[in-house]
Amino acid sequence: MRALYFAFVRERIGKAEEEISPPENIKTVADLMGWLRGQGENYAAAFANIKTMRAALDRTHVKHDALIGNAREIAFFPPMTGG
C-alpha cells in the first residue's frame, strides 16, 4: 500500500510517500504505526508521539483502531492547522 507523510512526519521520515508492505499481522492503524516505528531511527522519531498522530485511510479520517483492510492509501500527519 501507499503511505503518505505530511508536515513534521514527512520531515522526520525524510520522504513524502513510499510503498509499504506490512506483514499479515498488522490489522489496524495502530498496528501499522507500531510497525513503522520499528523501521529505523527516522521512523521512530516521526512516530515518537503516537497518541497525537492522525491518520487517513483512502483520504478519510480514521481512528487508531480502524482496520486497514484493503485500503490502497494511508496517510499520517499531525493535527491539522488549516484555516
Partner: protein, 154 residues
C-alpha cells in the same frame, strides 16, 4: 432547493468579492451574504512567511464534505470555500468562506461552522518561517479550535 457549492484548493491568491459575486450575481432571493477571510498575520514582525502544506485530493474532498454538511444543516443558497497552499506573506489571504442565505442567522452560523471545521478537519498544516535567520516551526493545533469544532457535534 440545493445550495450551489464551490470549493477550490489553490496556490494563487483570490478576490473575496469576485468569489462572493458568483453566488449573488443575477439573484434576487438572497438576503444575507457572509464572507470570512482568514489572513496571514506577521505576529508582531516575527513572521516572515507562512508555508502551507496540504494533502492534495483529500483537501478538496474534505472541504466539499464539510460544505455539504453545512448545506444540509442550514437552508443555504450557496457556499464558496477556498483554501490556499504554498508560501504566503503576511497580509495575504489564506482562506475564504462565503455563505449566502435568505436570512442572516443561517449565513452566520454556516460560515462559523465551516471555519471551525476547516481549522481542524481539512488536511492543511502551517509552518512559520520566522524573520531574520530564525528557525521554522510547525504551528501547533489549538485547544480553542478543537473546542470550537466539538460544539457542532450533536
Amino acid at each position: 432547493m440545493s445550495a450551489r457549492i464551490i470549493v477550490r484548493v489553490q496556490k494563487e491568491s483570490f478576490d473575496a468579492s469576485t468569489e462572493a459575486a458568483a453566488l449573488t450575481q443575477g439573484r434576487r432571493d438572497i438576503g444575507a451574504l457572509v464572507t470570512f477571510t482568514g489572513l496571514c498575520r506577521d505576529e508582531g514582525g516575527a513572521l516572515a512567511a507562512l508555508g502551507i502544506e496540504h494533502y492534495p485530493g483529500m483537501a478538496e474532498e474534505e472541504i466539499t464534505r464539510v460544505a455539504r454538511e453545512a448545506a444540509s444543516r442550514w437552508p443555504l443558497e450557496g457556499i464558496v470555500a477556498i483554501h490556499r497552499y504554498g508560501l504566503i506573506q503576511p497580509g495575504e489571504p489564506i482562506v475564504l468562506v462565503v455563505t449566502a442565505s435568505t436570512h442572516r442567522a443561517e449565513a452566520f452560523a454556516a460560515a462559523t461552522f465551516l471555519m471551525d471545521y476547516l481549522k481542524t478537519e481539512a488536511p492543511f498544516w502551517k509552518k512559520q518561517h520566522l524573520s531574520g535567520s530564525g528557525p521554522e516551526n510547525w504551528v501547533e493545533s489549538k485547544a480553542e479550535d478543537n473546542a470550537a469544532v466539538q460544539k457542532w457535534r450533536v
